[in-house]
Point group: C2
Chain length 296, copies 2
């Protein structure tokens, strides 16, 4: 039996509509939610990604602007710019696009953003609130998007054996932190599997829900997946493709053709988790603006 | 074959000696590491615990003092006292003893302590640093003690399948956050098991290292444990005992008599993890003092 395909776009569009409605409500009170993107250098993927997020933000009525800094900028100058936005009451969200040049410490930069403007959810204080189960603060956008995507398709995490592949700070670790909480939307039994795991395949085989976020093209083949499992494919990998005008194609961490034959449900990639990430970012931004103005 | 017993006291004593040496080094420079305990009300267990920690701190040369507040104190007054210590440069560590009365929000209180004085490691920023793998900040004392205890007995977490029972903010969740990191001392494959888990016993049975921190007296019997596993017993439970002058005895989460027959190694309880917790608290305190004076 072929798996149900968990398309992200219709769910993301519904969230965008809701965000646009909330933006309009704020604007009717004279408040203009504002998001500032900081991009360092001209990495093509970062350029495309920031442009796409900024375009969507603008569409929804968010005052959105990208500051482009040269590759050679010092960490101190970058921190100074962040501090300026931290102090600017007309700015509600600040997003520093990763990756940053090697001479800049990403952790220090993310920690410099005011946690109340940290719409990417990467500040240590926001990460800590996730782990503590404190509902204040911002959730990182991709984990939040994954949780919302399955919920929208009536797939429950509650009581499920969840195996997450990949212990990155953007997806794997924060997703594990949310899913282990004692809440109705979470309450999963989570195993975080990574390059240090001895028996990766065995762990995957017992998962009710398998989340692949390790960045290895098509690593998850059918033999990793239990019959009837739900599979979430987060990875974005470039593989060479001479037939493409770009010279490559983008593929996920899951071998979709194989796995969709035995899974109960599966996210496509692209078109699954990706759109959800952008939706959660802009929802976080309007939340930041709402919170700022309700707490004054 | 009977298990090796992982006594905490000799390891804790070695750490205390090292802490005393570091305290003496600071005092020779005119710096007096100082720790303030805040106890609200007169819960007998809290009284005993704080007194024991204060006594040990004093023994090691740490300027140590307990402020006792009435059960009826408002959250605002408690936060005000914390703020006074936050601003006092002569105080390096602040510990608010849990549990707090019901009208006070523990999360808000822990989050009010300056993260650089948060020697209990409960501030969201310190929790977030754990999850992000950032070595700055303070580790909660019990998880840090558990990791150090096994390391001292040459038991490696690296590559091990670790099952942690219990998702508390003091032990389960922060321990999971440390152990999943890509570091030589950690790098374990961690599953966090809890009341929402469907098949608790099956998860436990595949663990190379099993950490019981759920607070259920003697729940872990031999049938939960793989032959040759390492078992860490964190729970502290009171069970009625008419033969004891106190009317109760303290027991762990593990049925020691049974499990010690099949495990390769096991922590006694009491006498295993407990002494390590105090050792890590006082090591955190001297670290706070060292950091404060090196960063001036």
């Amino acid at each position: 039996m072929a798996a149900k395909i968990l398309y992200g776009k219709p769910i993301a569009d519904r969230i965008h509509n809701e965000t646009a409605r909330r933006v309009a409500a704020l604007r009717s009170k004279g408040i203009r939610p504002a998001l500032r993107f900081i991009r360092v250098g001209n990495d093509p993927a970062s350029c495309a990604y920031v442009a796409m997020k900024e375009k969507k933000a603008t569409e929804l009525g968010i005052d959105s602007h990208t500051i482009v800094l040269p590759e050679t900028i010092s960490q101190q100058e970058l921190l100074h710019l962040i501090d300026t936005f931290n102090k600017d009451d007309s700015v509600h969200g600040i997003l520093v696009q990763a990756p940053l040049p090697q001479h800049i410490c990403e952790q220090e930069v993310f920690a410099a953003v005011d946690p109340r403007k940290d719409v990417d959810g990467f500040h240590p204080e926001n990460m800590g609130r996730l782990l503590l189960g404190d509902p204040d603060g911002f959730r990182p956008c991709t984990p939040a998007g994954i949780i919302e995507l399955l919920r929208s398709y009536d797939i429950s995490w509650n009581g499920a054996d969840v195996v997450i592949l990949g212990r990155g700070n953007i997806v794997g670790k924060p997703l594990a932190a949310i899913l282990c909480q004692k809440t109705a939307e979470a309450n999963a039994t989570v195993t975080l599997v990574h390059t240090g795991t001895r028996n990766i395949k065995e762990h995957c085989q017992r998962a009710d829900i398998l989340v692949a976020a390790m960045g290895k093209a098509k690593m998850i083949t059918a033999d990793f997946v239990k019959n009837g499992a739900v599979v979430v494919d987060v990875g974005v990998n470039r593989i060479a493709d001479a037939t493409s005008s770009r010279g490559y194609q983008l593929v996920g961490d899951v071998d979709f053709a194989q796995v969709s034959e035995i899974a109960a449900a599966i996210t496509p990639n692209p078109g699954g988790v990706g759109p959800m990430t952008v939706a959660m970012l802009l929802a976080n931004t309007v939340k930041a603006a709402e919170f700022f103005h309700s707490s004054r």
